[in-house]
C-alpha cells in the first residue's frame, strides 16, 4: 500500500505545477532562509518540532524530510516525546507562544542530553519579544544559558496553489476589530518588507531603490506607514549583514495594499468556482490538500464512514480546472480529455524506434494525467451535488438580497433555516448578507434575528452574532453606538451602481468576465482593484520606500504589480484577479479565506 502511494506521488511529481515565477522566487527566498540557518551549524542536527503542527507544516511547505536530511538533519523528534538526541546540535523549531516555551523548558529539564549538545532555538515565523524576554528571565536565566542561540526564521510567506502568497493568519480581521490588536498590522508590514527585500536585495546599491506603495483603506494606510518605519529602522542592520546571495529574485514594480473590510460582503457570499467551492465545502488545508470522505469519493454505499481521503491539489490538471465556474467545469475538463486523447492516438505499426522511446517517456505523464482528470472530475461531481442539493436555496436567497434587500423585515427563508437549526455559519452569513446589502438592519429585525438565533442555537451563537456586529459584518441601522464597528461601513446600495456590481449580462463560462465567479455579482474588491489598475493607481494614497523620487522605469511599467489584501481573500476573487488583471503579477494576502473560515476565526476577548 505504502509502495503504491509512493509511486503515485512520483507520478504526481511529473505533473507538479510549482506556480508562477513570482511564487517560485519567493519560495526560493524562504528556502534560502531556512537552509542558511541549518547550514550555519556544522555537523548533524536533530530537529525537535513544536507540538503545534502548524510549524511543521510551514517548514514542510519549503522543505520536506528528504531535503532537510540533505542539509544535515538526521533525526526529527517531537518536543513532547522527549527523546534524547545524539547529534552535536539540537535545533528547536517552535511557534512563538508561551505554550511552546513551557514545552521547551520542560524538555530541557527532563531530557538527559550530553551537556555538550548545543541547543539552538528558532521561532517560526517570528520571535515574539515577550516570549524571548520571559525565556531570558525564567528560573533566573537557567534555560537561557543552556541555549546556544535563540533566533527566528521568518518563514512568513506561504505559497498557496502556486498563485498566491499567504501569511496564513485568518484571525487578523477579528484581532483588529474585536481585540483592537494593531500589532497584526505590524506583522503584515514586517512581512511585506521581506517581500521588498526579496525584490531589492540587501546590497546598498539596490536596497535603496524606491518602491511605491499604494494603499486603500484604513488598515492599508497604517501598514504602509509602518512599512516605512520598519524599513528605516532595519536599514542599519541591513548594512551590517553580508549581502544575500539570493537577492533580487522577485521582480515587482509596486505594491498595492487594500483592506478586505472595504468589501466584507463578498466572503459572506457563496463562492462558485471549483476551487472556491472545494475550500468552502471541504476546506483546503495548509499543505494545499483537501480531505474528503472516502465513501463519498468512491461512491460506495458501505465502508468506514470516517475514513478520509487526502487529495493533493498541485498537479497541472487541477490548475487548469480550478478557476472554472462549477457549472462550466466540463468545458475545461473536456479540453483536457481531448488532449489526452490526442496523446494516445498513435499507430503502433507505423512507429519508429525513436518515436517509441519518446512515447515510453511520455507514458507515465499520460497515465497520470488521466488519473488526475478522473480524480478531479469526481471531486467536481461531488461538489456539484452538494451545491445543487444543499446550497441552492441559500445561493438563490443571496442573489435576491443582492438585487433587493429590505432592512425593515426579516427574510422568511432565513427564519426558516434558523428554526430548522441549519448550520450556524450558513445562517449567520445570510444574516450578514442581508444586513450588508440593505445598509444595516432595523433594530427590531436585528433583535428578532438575535432572539431566534439564541433560541435555536444557544448563547454561544448569540455571542458570535454580537461579535459579528462588533466586526461590522452585521450592522444596526442608525444604531445608537452599541456594539458598533469602528470600521466605516460598506455602502452597498451606492457602490452597487457606481461599480456596476450586478451586470446585466454575464457568462459563467467566460473567465474573463469579472462577474463569472459569483454568477452575476462582481466583487467590490476586484472592481476597486480593476479600476485602480486601469488608472495606474492615480489618486491612491502613495508611500515611497527607500530613496525619494521614483524609479521611472518601474513606475511607467504597468505590469509587475503586487497586491496585498489585509483581512483575507477568497479563492474566487483570486481567480477573478488572475484571469482579469494581467498586470497584477503577484497576489498576496493575510489569509485565503471562506466565509466560514472568517467566522470560525473570530477570536475571544
Amino acid at each position: 500500500m505504502a509502495a503504491n502511494e509512493d509511486r503515485d506521488n512520483d507520478a504526481a511529481a511529473i505533473l507538479n505545477w510549482e506556480g508562477t515565477n513570482e511564487i517560485k522566487s519567493a519560495n526560493e527566498y524562504s528556502r534560502g532562509l531556512l537552509f542558511s540557518v541549518l547550514d550555519a551549524l556544522d555537523g548533524n542536527k536533530t530537529i525537535v518540532w513544536d507540538r503545534d503542527r502548524s510549524v511543521m507544516h510551514r517548514v514542510n511547505l519549503f522543505a520536506g524530510a528528504s531535503v532537510l536530511a540533505a542539509h544535515g538533519v538526521v533525526a526529527n523528534h517531537s518536543i513532547e516525546t522527549k527523546k534524547s538526541a545524539s547529534t552535536p546540535h539540537v535545533v528547536f523549531f517552535l511557534a512563538p507562544t508561551m505554550v511552546s516555551l513551557d514545552l521547551l523548558c520542560d524538555y530541557i529539564d527532563t531530557v538527559r542530553n550530553d551537556p555538550k549538545v548545543l541547543y539552538q532555538v528558532f521561532f517560526i515565523p517570528e520571535a515574539w519579544y515577550v516570549v524571548r524576554e520571559s525565556l531570558k528571565l525564567r528560573a533566573e536565566g537557567k534555560y537561557w544559558e543552556r541555549l546556544e542561540s535563540v533566533k527566528e526564521i521568518p518563514l512568513c510567506w506561504l505559497p498557496r496553489d502556486g498563485e498566491c502568497l499567504s501569511l496564513s493568519s485568518p484571525q487578523i480581521a477579528s484581532r483588529l476589530l474585536i481585540n483592537g490588536d494593531w500589532t497584526h498590522l505590524h506583522k503584515c508590514a514586517v512581512a511585506l518588507n521581506q517581500l521588498v527585500d526579496m525584490c531589492r536585495g540587501h546590497s546598498p546599491s539596490t536596497h535603496q531603490r524606491p518602491m511605491a506603495i499604494y494603499s486603500k483603506g484604513k488598515w492599508a494606510t497604517d501598514v504602509a506607514r509602518m512599512m516605512q518605519k520598519v524599513r528605516n529602522t532595519t536599514e542599519a542592520d541591513h548594512f551590517l549583514k553580508t549581502t544575500d546571495p539570493i537577492e533580487g529574485l522577485l521582480k515587482i514594480n509596486r505594491i498595492v495594499l487594500i483592506d478586505r473590510w472595504l468589501d466584507p460582503l463578498t466572503p459572506m457570499l457563496s463562492q462558485l468556482t471549483f476551487y472556491g467551492l472545494l475550500d468552502e465545502i471541504y476546506g483546503i488545508g495548509t499543505v494545499n490538500s483537501v480531505k474528503v470522505p472516502e465513501t463519498e469519493f468512491s461512491n460506495a454505499k458501505d465502508g468506514d464512514p470516517f475514513a478520509e481521503k487526502e487529495i493533493h491539489l498541485r498537479d497541472e490538471v487541477y490548475h487548469r480546472l480550478k478557476h472554472s465556474h462549477i457549472n462550466a467545469i466540463s468545458n475545461e475538463a473536456s479540453k483536457v480529455l481531448a488532449e489526452i486523447r490526442d496523446d494516445e492516438q498513435f499507430d503502433r505499426d507505423k512507429m519508429s524506434v525513436a518515436e517509441y522511446s519518446v512515447l515510453v517517456k511520455k507514458m507515465p505523464k499520460i497515465i497520470n494525467r488521466k488519473k488526475m482528470i478522473e480524480q478531479h472530475m469526481r471531486l467536481a461531481e461531488m461538489i456539484q451535488g452538494h451545491v445543487y442539493c444543499k446550497l441552492s436555496d441559500s445561493i438563490k436567497l443571496e442573489r435576491e438580497l443582492l438585487d433587493f434587500s429590505d432592512s425593515d423585515k426579516a427574510t422568511p427563508l432565513i427564519e426558516d433555516q434558523i428554526y430548522d437549526a441549519a448550520p450556524l455559519n450558513t445562517v449567520l452569513r445570510l444574516i450578514s448578507v442581508h444586513s450588508l446589502t440593505c445598509g444595516g438592519l432595523k433594530a427590531s429585525v436585528l433583535q428578532h434575528y438575535r432572539r431566534i438565533i439564541n433560541q435555536s442555537y444557544g448563547s454561544s451563537a448569540l455571542n458570535k452574532i454580537l461579535k459579528m456586529q462588533k466586526m461590522g459584518l452585521i450592522r444596526e441601522k442608525g444604531g445608537a453606538g452599541k456594539m458598533q464597528c469602528e470600521y466605516a461601513p460598506m455602502l452597498y446600495q451606492q457602490q452597487k451602481k457606481a461599480y456596476d456590481m450586478l451586470p446585466e449580462n454575464f457568462s459563467e463560462a467566460r473567465m474573463s468576465d469579472i462577474a463569472y465567479a459569483y454568477s452575476g455579482f462582481a466583487p467590490l474588491l476586484c472592481k476597486i482593484l480593476d479600476e485602480g489598475d486601469r488608472v495606474k493607481w492615480v489618486g491612491w494614497p502613495k508611500t515611497v520606500l527607500g530613496d525619494d523620487g521614483i524609479d521611472p522605469i518601474s513606475e511607467r511599467d504597468p505590469r509587475g504589480t503586487c497586491i496585498f489584501v489585509i483581512g483575507g481573500l477568497t479563492r474566487s476573487e483570486m481567480a477573478l484577479i488572475r484571469e482579469n488583471m494581467p498586470n497584477i503579477s503577484l497576489i498576496t494576502t493575510s489569509a485565503l479565506i471562506t466565509g466560514d473560515k472568517l467566522l470560525n476565526n473570530i477570536t475571544n476577548i
Binding site: T97, M98, V99, L101, D102, Y129, V130, E133, S134, I178, N179, G180, D181, W182, T183, H186, D222, R225, M226, K229, V230, T233, Q384, G385, Y388, C389, S392, D393, K396, Y419, D420, A421, A443, L446, Q447, R450, R451, I452, N454, Q455, S456, Y457, G458, S459, S460, L462, N463, L466, K467, K470, A480, K482, M483, N604, I605
Partner: protein, 895 residues
C-alpha cells in the same frame, strides 16, 4: 675625522607657508618647510628639519623640568616661581593647552605612551594628568619609598608606560602600568646608589630592572631578586665605570656609556688577556677615552663598541638613541654630538661623529629620531630610512632613485633622459614602493607630490594592472600628516611614527588635546564619512562640553540649556549617522536630565529615543513615543520596564492612557494567562478600568462559552447582562434577561446544555410544559409548532402528531411530511402528504418526499420558472428524476 657633508636641497622650493593656508600663519611657532639639510654619518644619514620657527612662546630659557610626549605629542615644562611650581603644557608649535597648573615639589616629569603627563613629587606621589592638564589619576609611591632620587619611565608591551622610582636609599619601586598602578619594589644588595640604572620591559617578558654599580651589572625581573650578570663579563670593561644606559625603542638593545675610562680599550676586545691588561697599564694616564657600547637586552652580546676621544662624553647631560644606529650625546645646552653605532661597523673603523651647535636645546627622543627644542625653533633630527637615502641621494644601483629621476626628467620634458633612466630600473615594483615610502618620509608637499608622481609614473611600466592600494593609502596618510603638522594642530608627526601608533591613536590624541575639528577631519579622511571614529570624536566632544557645564556647578537655566542643546545639536545634525540618543546618554551621565530631554527631542530613531526616555525614567513619555512609533517590540519593552519598576495599579493606569499599548498589554495578559489559567480576572479588570462595556459583555459571553459548570455559566451570562445594561443596549439586555430567566429551570431539569429549540423537541409530548416554555422564552407560534412536530416525529409519538395535524395547520403540512421523512416514519408520510394543499405547501411536501417530478409539474403548470429552477437544482439528488425535471424546465423556457 668628522665626515660631514651638507646637502643642499632643491633651492627653488623655499616657501615657508603651507599651500592651503595661503597667508602666513599668525602667531607663535611658524611652520617651516624649508628643505631639510642632511649629513652623512658613515652609512647613516641624518636629516635636520626645522619644523617650527620663532617658537618664542616655548620659553625654554627658564624651564626647570622638560618633557615631550613621544610621537610628536605635546610638551610639558615646569617653571619655578618663588614659592611654588607651575606646569605649562603646549603643543610643539607652541599652542598652549594648559597654563599655570600649580604643583608641589616636582622632581620628575615625563609623558606616558598613553598620552598622559606624569608628575612625580619629591615625596613619591605621582600625578597623572591628561594632555590638557585634567587630573586622571594618582599613583602613591610614598608608602614604599623615602625621598625620590631618580625616576625612569619605560614602554610596555601593552602600549602603556610603566614607572620605576629610585629613592635616595637605592630602593626601586615599580608600577608596570600607570593606568593600573600596582606597586612592587626591588632592593639592591649595596648601600650606595648605582652609577647607572634603567627599567625596561623586553618583548613579552616581565619588567626588568638593570642596576649598574660601576662595572657590576645587576639585573632582575619582577618577582625575582637581582642577580649579578656574569655572562656580561665578555664585554664589560671592568676597570671603568658605566654611567649611562639607555634602551632603544625596539626594546632589544641597550646603549651603555662608560665614564672617563682610564684605559684605552683595545679594539681586539674579544680576547681579554693578561697581556692586554699590561698594555692597558701602559696606556694609563696617557689619554682618557670614553666608550659607547651597544649590547643586547639580555646583556649577552655586545654588538658594537665606539671610543670617543674628542669629547668628554662621560660628563654629558643627555644620552640616547637616534633611530637604530646612531646615538646622540648632549654635552651641554649648546652642543650635541651624534655618533654612528651601526652594527655594521667593524672594529678599527673610523669613529663617525657629528657635532651640532644648538642654543638652549632640550631634546626629546622619538623612535626614528630626536627633536631639538631650542630657544627660537624646533628641529627634528631624523635617521633617514634606507629608501629615503637611496631615492633622495640619487644613489647608484637604486631602482627608486632611477625612477624618481626618470619621472623628473619626464616632467621637465627631457623624455629621452627619462627613458634612459627608466630602462636601468631592474625591479619596478620595488622602485615604486621606494618612491612611495620616501614620499611619506618627506616634509615638503612639493617633494611629496613629485615622489608620488614618480610612483604613479612607474606604474605605467609594470606589466600587471598596478595595485594602487599602497599609493592610495600613502596619499591619504600624507594628507593627514600635513594637516597635523600645521601650526594650529602642532603635531609634526613623521610617517614612521604614524605607522607605529596608528589611526585610532592619532584620533584619540587629538580628542585628548581637545582638537575636535581636526580630529573629525582626520577621522573622515581616514575612515570615510560614516566611520565609527567620527562618532567617537563627536560624542567625546559632546561629553566634554556637557561635563564642562555640569562641573561648573552653575545652575543652568532653561535658555542656557537650550543654547547648549542648540549648539551641540547643530553640530551633530551635520553628521546624520551620529545618534542624538548617545548625546542624551552623555547628558544623563553628566546628571543633566533636562539637557538629555532637549537632545532626545531631536532623535529620530524611535528605539534609542525610547531607551533614553526610560533611562530618564520618563515612562509616560516613553510609552507615548513607543506607541507613536507603532512598533510592538518597543511598546513591550516599555511595558516590561514598567512591570518591573512600578506597582501593578500605577503601571496599568499609565498603560490604559495609551490605547495602542493597552491592547498590547491585554494580549500579553491573555497569552500569559493561557498557560497559567489566571488571565480572566486580570483581563476583566483591564476592561473595567477602561470602561469598555462592549468588550466586557463579549468577555462574559466568552467565559460562558468555555465554562462547563451550568450555574457558573449562568452567572457569566448574568454578568454579561449587567455589562450590556451599563453599555445601554436594551435589546441585548432583554434577550439576556430571558436567558437568565429560562436557564435556572433548565438547570433544574438537567438540560442546561440544550437550547430552547432542543428542549422543546425533547419535551414535545408534554403540552403543558411546552406552553410554559413558550411563555418563558417568548416563542412565537410557528417556532413552537415546528419544533413540536419535529419532537413528536423524533420520539415516535405518531398519534399525538396526528392529533396535532387534525387542526388546520397555519404553516401547512409540509413540515409534517419533512419531519416524518427525516425520522423515517415512512408509513406515516402519506397521511400528511394527503393533507397538504395549496401550491407552495404541495411543492414543499413533494420536495420533502423527494418527488421532484411532481413538484416540477406543479410549478410547470403555474409557469413558475423560479420554483421550477430551484426544483431542478434539488433534483440532482436523484439521477432518475433529474432529466425529467430538466425537460420540464427546457420546455417552459422554449414556450
Amino acid at each position: 675625522m668628522i665626515t660631514s657633508e651638507l646637502i643642499e636641497g632643491m633651492k627653488e622650493s623655499t616657501r615657508t607657508s603651507t599651500p592651503s593656508s595661503g597667508a602666513k600663519p599668525k602667531g607663535d611657532g611658524e611652520i617651516c618647510l624649508r628643505p631639510s639639510s642632511s649629513v652623512f654619518l658613515g652609512d647613516q644619514q641624518l636629516y635636520f628639519t626645522q619644523e617650527y620657527l620663532a617658537t618664542n612662546s616655548l620659553n625654554m630659557k627658564y624651564v626647570v623640568y622638560f618633557a615631550a610626549c613621544q610621537f610628536s605629542g605635546p610638551i610639558a615644562v615646569i617653571y619655578a616661581a618663588p614659592k611654588s611650581w607651575f606646569i605649562w603644557i603646549r603643543t610643539i608649535s607652541g599652542r598652549i593647552l594648559k597654563r599655570d597648573l600649580p604643583c608641589t615639589d616636582p622632581v620628575f616629569i615625563d609623558w606616558t605612551r598613553a598620552h598622559c603627563l606624569l608628575v612625580l613629587s619629591k615625596n613619591g606621589r605621582a600625578q597623572v594628568l591628561s594632555s590638557i592638564g585634567e587630573k586622571v589619576s594618582e599613583v602613591f609611591f610614598d608608602n614604599q619609598v623615602s625621598d625620590v632620587h631618580e625616576c625612569r619611565t619605560f614602554a610596555t608591551s601593552r602600549g602603556d608606560s610603566g614607572i620605576a622610582v629610585m629613592d635616595v636609599d637605592g630602593q626601586v619601586a615599580v608600577v608596570n602600568s600607570v593606568s593600573e598602578p600596582v606597586i612592587w619594589s626591588m632592593r639592591p644588595p649595596y648601600s650606595e646608589l648605582p652609577t647607572a640604572w634603567t627599567a625596561f620591559q623586553p618583548h613579552s617578558q616581565l619588567t626588568h630592572i638593570l642596576l649598574i654599580f660601576e662595572a657590576v651589572f645587576l639585573m632582575g625581573c619582577q618577582g625575582e631578586s637581582l642577580q649579578v650578570q656574569n655572562h656580561a663579563s665578555v664585554w664589560v670593561d671592568s676597570s671603568t665605570k658605566y654611567v649611562k644606559c639607555v634602551v632603544d625603542d625596539a626594546r632589544s638593545r641597550i646603549a651603555m656609556m662608560t665614564e672617563n675610562g682610564k684605559i684605552q680599550v683595545g679594539r681586539e676586545k674579544v680576547s681579554l688577556s693578561l697581556s692586554l691588561r699590561e698594555t692597558q697599564t701602559f696606556f694609563e694616564n696617557s689619554k682618557s677615552y670614553e666608550t659607547i657600547q651597544i649590547v643586547s637586552i639580555d646583556l649577552s652580546t655586545c654588538f658594537c663598541t665606539v671610543e670617543v676621544t674628542e669629547h668628554d662624553i662621560g660628563k654629558c647631560i643627555n644620552f640616547g638613541w637616534v633611530g637604530n644606529s646612531v646615538v646622540f650625546v648632549q654635552m651641554s645646552s649648546s652642543l650635541t654630538v651624534f655618533v654612528n653605532v651601526s652594527a655594521r661597523r667593524k672594529p678599527g673603523d673610523e669613529v663617525l661623529v657629528y657635532e651640532k651647535m644648538t642654543a638652549n636645546a632640550r631634546i626629546s627622543v622619538e623612535p626614528d629620531g630626536i627633536r631639538l627644542f631650542e630657544s627660537t625653533r624646533v628641529e627634528f633630527v631624523e635617521a633617514a630610512s634606507r629608501e629615503k637615502i637611496a631615492v633622495l641621494n640619487r644613489s647608484l644601483n637604486e631602482d627608486g632613485a632611477y625612477l624618481y629621476k626618470a619621472a623628473q626628467e619626464m616632467e621637465q620634458g627631457t623624455g629621452h633622459n627619462s627613458f634612459a633612466a627608466s630602462t636601468v630600473i631592474q625591479d619596478m615594483y620595488k622602485a615604486i614602493d621606494d618612491c612611495i615610502s620616501t614620499a611619506c618620509d618627506t616634509w615638503q608637499p612639493e617633494e611629496q607630490k613629485l615622489l608620488l608622481k614618480a610612483a604613479r609614473f612607474g606604474m605605467a611600466y609594470t606589466n600587471t594592472t598596478p595595485d594602487t592600494t599602497k599609493l592610495m593609502r600613502a596619499i591619504k596618510e600624507i594628507r593627514v600628516l600635513n594637516e597635523l603638522r600645521m601650526v594650529r594642530t602642532g603635531i609634526p608627526l613623521t610617517h614612521r611614527q604614524y605607522r607605529i601608533i596608528g589611526d585610532t591613536c592619532i584620533i584619540n590624541r587629538l580628542i585628548d588635546m581637545g582638537s575636535y575639528s581636526v580630529a573629525i577631519k582626520v577621522a573622515q579622511w581616514l575612515g570615510g564619512e560614516n566611520c565609527e571614529s567620527v562618532d567617537r570624536v563627536l560624542l567625546e566632544w559632546v561629553r566634554r562640553s556637557i561635563s564642562k557645564v555640569s562641573r561648573s556647578n552653575m545652575k543652568m537655566d532653561q535658555p542656557a540649556l537650550e543654547a547648549l542643546d542648540e549648539k551641540i545639536s547643530a553640530k551633530l545634525l551635520q553628521f546624520p549617522h551620529v545618534s542624538m540618543a548617545d548625546a542624551a546618554r552623555r547628558a544623563i551621565e553628566a546628571k543633566l536630565p533636562e539637557l538629555a530631554r532637549l537632545f532626545i527631542r531631536r532623535e529620530t530613531d524611535d528605539e534609542s529615543h525610547v531607551a533614553v526616555l526610560l533611562q530618564l525614567n520618563d515612562v509616560s513619555a516613553a510609552l507615548t513615543k513607543a506607541a507613536a512609533s507603532q512598533r510592538p517590540q518597543l511598546i513591550h519593552q516599555v511595558v516590561r520596564h514598567l512591570m518591573t519598576s512600578e506597582s501593578r495599579s500605577s503601571y496599568e493606569l499609565a498603560i490604559s492612557r495609551i490605547p495602542l499599548a493597552q491592547c498590547l498589554y491585554q494580549d500579553l495578559v491573555r497569552q500569559e494567562g493561557e498557560t497559567r489559567g489566571i488571565s480572566s480576572r486580570q483581563m476583566l479588570a483591564l476592561l473595567e478600568q477602561a470602561s469598555d462595556f462592549e468588550r466586557q459583555t463579549l468577555f462574559h459571553f466568552d467565559v460562558a462559552e468555555i465554562e462547563r459548570n451550568p450555574s457558573e455559566r449562568l452567572n457569566a451570562l448574568r454578568r454579561a447582562k449587567d455589562a450590556a445594561k451599563s453599555m445601554g443596549d436594551k435589546a441585548i439586555e432583554e434577550i439576556l434577561n430571558d436567558v437568565s430567566a429560562f436557564a435556572p429551570l433548565q438547570i433544574q431539569r438537567g438540560q442546561a446544555d440544550m437550547s430552547v429549540r432542543d428542549t422543546i423537541i425533547e419535551i414535545a409530548d408534554d403540552t403543558a410544559k411546552v406552553a410554559q416554555l413558550k411563555q418563558q422564552a417568548r416563542l412565537n407560534d410557528k417556532q413552537v409548532l415546528l419544533w413540536t412536530i419535529e419532537g413528536l416525529a423524533k420520539k415516535g409519538k405518531m398519534e399525538q402528531l396526528f392529533d396535532l395535524a387534525q387542526k388546520r395547520s397555519p404553516i401547512g403540512y409540509a413540515p409534517f411530511v419533512k419531519a416524518c421523512v427525516r425520522y423515517k416514519r415512512n408509513e406515516e408520510v402519506n397521511k400528511y402528504f394527503a393533507k397538504a394543499n395549496g401550491y407552495s405547501d404541495l411543492v414543499a411536501a413533494n420536495l420533502a418526499k423527494k418527488n421532484y417530478v411532481d413538484a416540477a409539474k406543479l410549478a410547470y403548470d403555474r409557469r413558475d420558472r423560479e420554483v421550477l429552477h430551484a426544483i431542478h437544482m434539488k433534483s440532482h439528488d436523484d439521477p432518475v428524476q433529474c432529466p425529467r425535471v430538466k425537460q420540464l424546465l427546457n420546455s417552459m423556457d422554449q414556450a
